[in-house]
Amino acid sequence: MADLRSNFIGIKSPNPFWLASAPPTDKEYNVRRAFQAGWGGVVWKTLGSEGPPVVNVNGPRYGVIHGPDRRVLGINNIELITDRPLEVNLREIKSVKRDYPDRALVISLMVPCDEDSWRDILHRIEDTGADGVELNFGCPHGMAERGMGSAVGQVPEYIEMVTRWVKTHSRMPCIVKLTPNISDIRKPAEAARRGGADAVSLINTINSITSVDLDLFAPQPTIDGKGSHGGYCGPAVKPIALNMVAEIARNPATAGLPISGIGGVTTWRDAAEFMALGAGNVQVCTAAMTYGFKVVQEMISGLRDYLDSHEMALSDLIGRATPNVTDWQHLNLNYVTKAVIDQDLCISCGRCFAACEDTSHQAIGMKPGRVFEVIEEECVACNLCIDVCPVENCITMRELEVGEIDKRTGIARGGYANWTSHPNNPMARAAE
């Protein structure tokens, strides 16, 4: 049976599933329950400086996007960092860590952008026994307006500066948590590395308005008739997070920098995908907030089964897909596929037909008796039919053999050739 024990920048945990710094990790009661349920680690909800704690709104904090049957696809929140006194949090962290020495316990931090503030908070947490710190440079609301959170994370120079302070004043492993609310995720990651970060974690939440109340004419969640953008998370943000993880993993300037993957991890499969793209572990929040802490048990069994069935160790998985992430210009333009509909699996709903006929290439024919067939002469293999088909594997793509005629173009499939050498590419011609 696959060994799921994880060593992430020297922080050991029985499995690579950590709870992200968020409402589920705000206090001892929750974190103890999480560890009892089997979570490998916890990033304690962000602590601020000593003094009067921040305050939260007293109306709703969360907005939601639902899929069919009210399945939660995405949540946004306008909650701030912990609103409990620093003393209480520190006492609880110490108590939990003492009872769960085998679990990872990392403390998320966010204090004003000056060296004294960072030095002070680092000294305060020194004797908690915590395994590391995570710098919250991502929180997109409230704290950002006060010059913290994503206000730091959006300026690479600040990231580098603060990271350096942290590494100067603490021997703890340091993870820099990145905001996705920037145009190029590689820049803040590079800055973190320059500052001496041991790892980056991403993504934090995305600026968002989940919905508008059409009676109040206000964003939701609505506080006394007004709304503010919140941070979006959950399954809906996973594609954005995967791309950003991959960008950092394959960027030469940050290659090898450990990554803690965050963003919509809901099942073992999501976790495996993040890890395949280069994440050393994953952090989870929305899945736990939707289903409770027990979901980790499925993640553990699922990842174990997957590794066993593929005869891989956990370390074999990490980064295994990274080399296959490339730029568009290197994709093989002579790779030709055609959609194939399995008539035995087809339930004749016609969604592939509607999608292809109305919005794509008119490459699916509808025959009497509601029989849907691919017209290879028109099929560009766009995949939309597969995407909208309700039956898994009913429509698949068949790869043409090299030399086989593509009925759409009348040209025999050739070997590998990409855009860089394509005759239509003006840059390719210029190079001649």
């Binding site: 049957d69 339930i347 004749s348 016609g350 969604r351 037909f353 509601r370 309700p390």
Partner: protein, 451 residues
């Protein structure tokens, strides 16, 4: 336990009033908003959806379900009513398992269709509960149309005509409107006086006058109607009942199932309705099932449906058959009645087993008898009192296209006319289509029929 429960013969009060109330509740209770959302989420919004094709009134089912899913159930109801003004009743009585739900692609996928009937009821009940009628009449055309029969066909026709600005007079043989919706459907399918409430709601459009106890060939004549009105629609259904043609059929307590169902629907006190202890229903359609199940619900101890052909040929759908057996009805197939035995009242019915071959049904020598103190005939209805000048086909008024009969200016639809199964939804479609055709002929306007 009621003292009369095991009494021999045909007696009232086999069950206590409380038991009767419990037995005759809504057979398919309405969906809650939550249930409707969950059910609506299952619709795939198919292209050229097979459920629409399977619906005789061509309701745009994927559209109305999407309207429910997006929390606009009133818009959903209007999608339904535009195609089928009896969307409420059809949601209750349609054999959806052989129509829309039978065609649902989820049958192919999982064997469990989208609950189209229940969703239709959710939408239509909601809009009808608002009380006001949602359609407005077009300006008056000055044309007057006579409709014979206030059943689903006649009322559907009348509503569409009224909407188009024609004035309609309906002539009906019975004291109440609704036809089989009122007199011919099992009580538990349309509880709480739904049939009358629906007619009242439908008439809310205005321009429709109903004259009761007017029977064609008695109080009114086709020639008279033709002379007085610009057009005539015949939708009087099938008033006659087929005979068993079995020896001894005239013995006491051998009754028509439709009469039993009618009396049950009109009864104010179910405990006063007499029912046998051993009941035999002869026939294989929905009327047979409705009669048999309701006999059980009234307290009959043993109820059997006996059908002369193979079970696969029963008119009642599998769902209906299962409903019967779940209620303790025994279904015996391939047996035809040959004699009704008794001394004044029926005591036993004698059957012959049959074989169904290429040359038709033949009786075998294998006979059996069923104890019976009450027998219901449910072997079909037939046309009665139809004017001689109308051309018939297979015992029904021959129609072509949208309900045109052999006589100019006379249309027909519903059970009395050819075409389609004898279903409420078919009658609604035929009445509607005839109205469109009549309007086109009377005004020169284009026909507007959904689907």
């Amino acid at each position: 336990m009621s003292q009369a429960r095991l009494s021999p013969g045909v007696v009232p009060g086999r069950l206590t009033p409380n038991e009767l109330v419990a037995n005759f509740v809504d057979v398919a209770p309405p969906l809650t908003p939550h249930e409707a959302r969950v059910a609506a989420d299952r619709c795939y919004f198919c292209h050229d959806a097979p459920c629409i094709t399977a619906c005789p009134t061509s309701i745009d089912i994927p559209l109305f379900i999407r309207q429910i899913a997006t929390e606009t159930p009133d818009a959903a109801a209007m999608t339904i009513f535009h195609a089928n003004i009896f969307g409420g009743m059809c949601a209750r009585v349609c054999p959806t398992e052989t129509l829309c739900e039978g065609a649902c692609v989820r049958m192919e996928a999982e064997g469990k269709p989208v609950e189209i009937g229940a969703l239709q009821r959710f939408a239509t009940d909601g809009l009808m509960a608002r009380g006001s009628h949602p359609f407005k009449r077009a300006p008056s055309t000055g044309k007057r149309v006579a409709v014979v029969g206030a059943g689903p066909a006649g009322l559907s026709c009348a509503h569409r005509l009224a909407a188009k600005g024609h004035d309609v007079t309906i002539f009906d043989a019975r004291p109440k409107p609704g036809g089989l919706n009122e007199y011919g459907i099992a009580s538990y399918k349309a509880v709480d006086g739904f049939a009358q409430a629906e007619v009242d709601w439908l008439l809310g459009i205005g321009g429709i006058q109903i004259r009761h106890e007017q029977r064609l060939g008695e109080q009114i004549s086709l020639d008279g109607l033709k002379a007085e009105y610009d057009a005539v629609f015949l939708g009087m259904g099938l008033a006659g009942v087929n005979a068993l043609r079995a020896q001894g059929e005239d013995r006491r307590n051998v009754l028509d199932a439709v009469s039993f169902i009618r009396d049950l629907r009109q009864a104010t006190d179910l405990a006063a309705l007499p029912i046998g202890r051993d009941v035999v229903v002869i026939g294989g359609g929905m009327t047979a099932v409705d009669a048999a199940v309701q006999a059980r619900l009234l307290g009959a101890e043993n109820v059997s449906i006996v059908y002369r052909r193979d079970q696969s040929r029963m008119g009642a759908s599998r769902h209906e058959q299962d409903h019967a057996t779940a209620n303790g009805v025994r279904i015996i197939c391939n047996a035809a009645p040959v004699a009704v035995h008794g001394n004044g009242s029926v005591v036993e019915v004698e059957f012959c087993y049959t074989t169904d071959g290429p040359s038709g049904l033949t009786l075998t020598d294998n006979r059996f008898r069923l104890k019976a103190d009450q027998v219901f005939r449910a072997i079909g209805q037939r046309l009665q009192g139809v004017p001689e000048e109308l051309k018939l086909q297979n015992g029904k008024i021959a129609i072509t296209g949208p309900g045109r009969t052999s006589l100019g200016g006379v249309w027909a639809g519903g059970d009395c006319a050819t075409g389609g199964d004898d279903l409420t939804v078919t009658a609604v479609a035929q009445g509607r289509d005839a109205a469109e055709d009549m309007d086109a002929l009377l005004t020169g306007r284009p026909v507007e029929i959904p689907g």
